[in-house]
Symmetry: C2
């Protein structure tokens, strides 16, 4: 039997040593490693397909669900996307070493902040092997070493991808331990990884809510996490009805399975009678099932009754909870109680209400007259996204390269001493 | 017997509710509360002295050490400092609501970041009752609610201070639960406080290393912490000897008990023979005991031999470890191994070595030709300091008001939907 704890300490030590080398590597070296990895993946399509077939066969034997098998599959199109992603990350500006806020202090010292890598980042994810490349590339670009622990059902695919990354790192003269994929499928490895603050600076779990809750509960290392996406659109009585319809329909139906999809629609009672029938018509045309509060059902008798559970539900499906609220106060009260603090939007032409909504709704993205679907690292211009944080500490909302960095103070003097 | 868990949940619920009110309070209201607290403290000098006498008497009975009794004492001068501190915090700019980085995206939406409070901050500290006011004022200014848990030996003093804060909050129309001092001295209250992520967003422990390690180990809530201050000054062969002497002496002898005091001096072997005798003379004149490596003792035979333990020791005393190193590489290797990643400084006139030191030393403050004693929120212009973080996540180095805040994304559209 393998000594998992001993193995993980070894992985951790190697990662820590590699992190120091990556931290002081040049922008050019890190970009070269990313581009060389892209080439290595392109050259290893056969190898990747074989490894992936092993995982798929084993998955079928073990009775994996079709949705899981689909996520596991490395199609040629997905490999293209991985390659394209690496090239995009290489093209992003290097966040590391940026010095900002440099000012002279009355003492004569000059003080500023320099952006630096976090160190070693642990990524824990489920079946998608393409996450291996996505996560590793963002961590490497931001000057960090990475320890990746993918789902056991993707072990062969992940190892094959890891081999390509190792070739890319070697081509750039960077240590292969800068990106390590844990070689064991033993679950104990996860337990070790999240309790090694000496070797791991932060954990980013990516996957279902169960995984993320378990990791957050047991971790002894800071976790950047995303839990639910229970997002709201509130249609105010001063909304432009055309904008309201367009935003509500887009926020719900643009994609059903994403975390920034609207799950509950709130409508100001003053305009409920006018706008609810139009909304219902649009949603029914799109095949969306509505679940309404009593006031909603008074206007739309065909709508199913919503229960208390509906307000806290992340459907990720063509289902929408609808509630009539008593103006802006009712909307804010509902949102601050049921929202997962992910993304909430108001539709209104009223300046004061927009200002109040922006200030009083405590969510990672607050919007005026825009679809919740915009809450996304690419749409926000971060260039990339490792995830969307529903935490408040360190990183909130879409997390790009900057979320994988820290800042240290730099002080320049000329023999200055403190009096 | 008191139901500690139940009591702490009540405290947490009240803090959470108060945090929402404080978060949307105006700058003027929060400043008014701070100034009214200053007045209340000034008016309650008799009350404070009586409560403090109770604690001091009990402390003497329980055989508290003189140093502890000194920290516990609320002298008139310390009360003046508390009042002055409140006025200074009131005069600081309000960090909350600041919107930055507002840009238009190709989709047409306008995206920026708004600075927001963290929510509820738990402060755990030891004997000094003045921390109650210091910490509460910074948390309130930054729009947060606070739960304070001071040392049991200061319970009467802390409750008296809390009563003044409550008067200040009431005068400004803010809820008294915005600042709560835990009313029980039962240690179980700390255990509850650090494991209530539902009610507490971050814990800031202030005190000895033992307390901070214990809290970090057991917390289920993010912790902003400060462990050791093992700070280095490296005197490079290209140093200006005059600057080197001034900085080394200041870094060690300006104050012995502070975390940014130099604990180990590193000297480039190329200049060791020239500069070590001058340094030794200066330190001996100040009464500092030197503990040197073999090479140091070859030059300064009177110096005590340093052991491996000395390199990792935070003396907080007139003792200094001295090591001769093999140039910049030797210095960086030593620092990255033994430094507590707090503050490290190089003395050099060499541009390339200064640049390398700044980049390759992974500490929260890195300095060129300046005394480590400058690593301080006031010296850096933060206006205030809740502590110095030796973590990398969220806040690194001196933590001012900004470290007690987060940022949320704000998105302005005009009916924008995602395609």
């Amino acid at each position: 039997m393998m000594d998992i704890a001993g193995y993980m300490v070894e992985v951790g030590e190697q990662a820590r040593a590699a992190a120091a080398v990556v931290a002081r590597s040049t922008t050019a070296m890190r970009n070269q490693a990313l581009l060389a990895t892209a080439e290595a993946i392109d050259a290893a399509r056969g190898e990747l397909a074989m490894a992936n077939t092993k995982d798929l066969d084993a998955g079928r034997e073990n009775g994996l669900e079709p949705a899981m098998l689909d996520r596991l599959e490395l199609t040629p199109a997905r490999i293209d996307t991985m390659i394209e992603g690496l090239r995009q990350v290489a093209a992003l500006p290097d966040p590391i070493g940026e010095i900002t806020d440099m000012t002279y202090r009355p003492s004569g010292i000059q003080v500023g902040k320099m952006r630096v890598p976090l160190g070693v980042i642990g990524i824990i994810y489920e079946s998608r092997p393409n996450v291996t490349v996505e996560a590793a590339s963002l961590c490497l670009k931001s000057g960090n070493a990475t320890i990746l622990r993918g789902g056991s059902e993707a072990i062969h695919s992940n190892q094959a991808v890891a081999a390509c990354i190792a070739r890319g790192l070697a081509a750039a003269g960077l240590p292969e331990a800068a990106v390590q994929v844990v070689k064991t499928t033993d679950r104990a490895a996860v337990g070790e990884l999240i309790t090694m603050p000496r070797y791991v600076d932060v954990i980013v779990p990516r996957g279902g809510k169960g995984l993320i809750e378990r990791i957050s509960r047991d971790a002894r290392v800071p976790v950047i996490k995303h839990l639910d996406g229970i997002c709201h659109v509130y249609i105010d009585s001063h909304a432009d009805p055309e904008k309201a319809l367009a935003i509500a329909v887009n926020a719900k139906t643009h994609r059903y399975g994403t975390c920034n999809t609207m799950e509950t629609l709130l409508v100001d009672q003053e305009i409920a009678e006018d706008i609810l029938p139009l909304l219902a018509e649009a949603f029914v045309a799109k095949g969306v099932e509505l679940r309404g509060c009593e006031a909603t059902r008074a206007i739309l008798p065909d709508v199913i009754a919503a229960t208390e559970e509906d307000w806290g539900e992340e459907y990720l499906a063509p289902i929408l909870a609808v509630r009539v609220v008593d103006g802006l106060d009712g909307a804010i009260t509902h949102i601050n109680r049921y929202s997962s603090q992910h993304t909430d939007s108001i539709v209104t032409e009223n300046y004061t209400r927009a200002r109040r909504f922006i200030t009083e709704v405590d969510s990672s993205s607050v919007m005026v007259n825009a679809s919740t679907r915009f809450a996304d690292g690419f749409e926000y211009g971060l260039g990339a996204e490792i995830g969307i944080s529903t935490d408040k500490i360190h990183a909130r909302g879409p997390v790009g390269l900057e979320g994988l960095t820290s800042q240290k103070y730099v002080v320049f003097g000329d023999g200055h001493i403190r009096n």
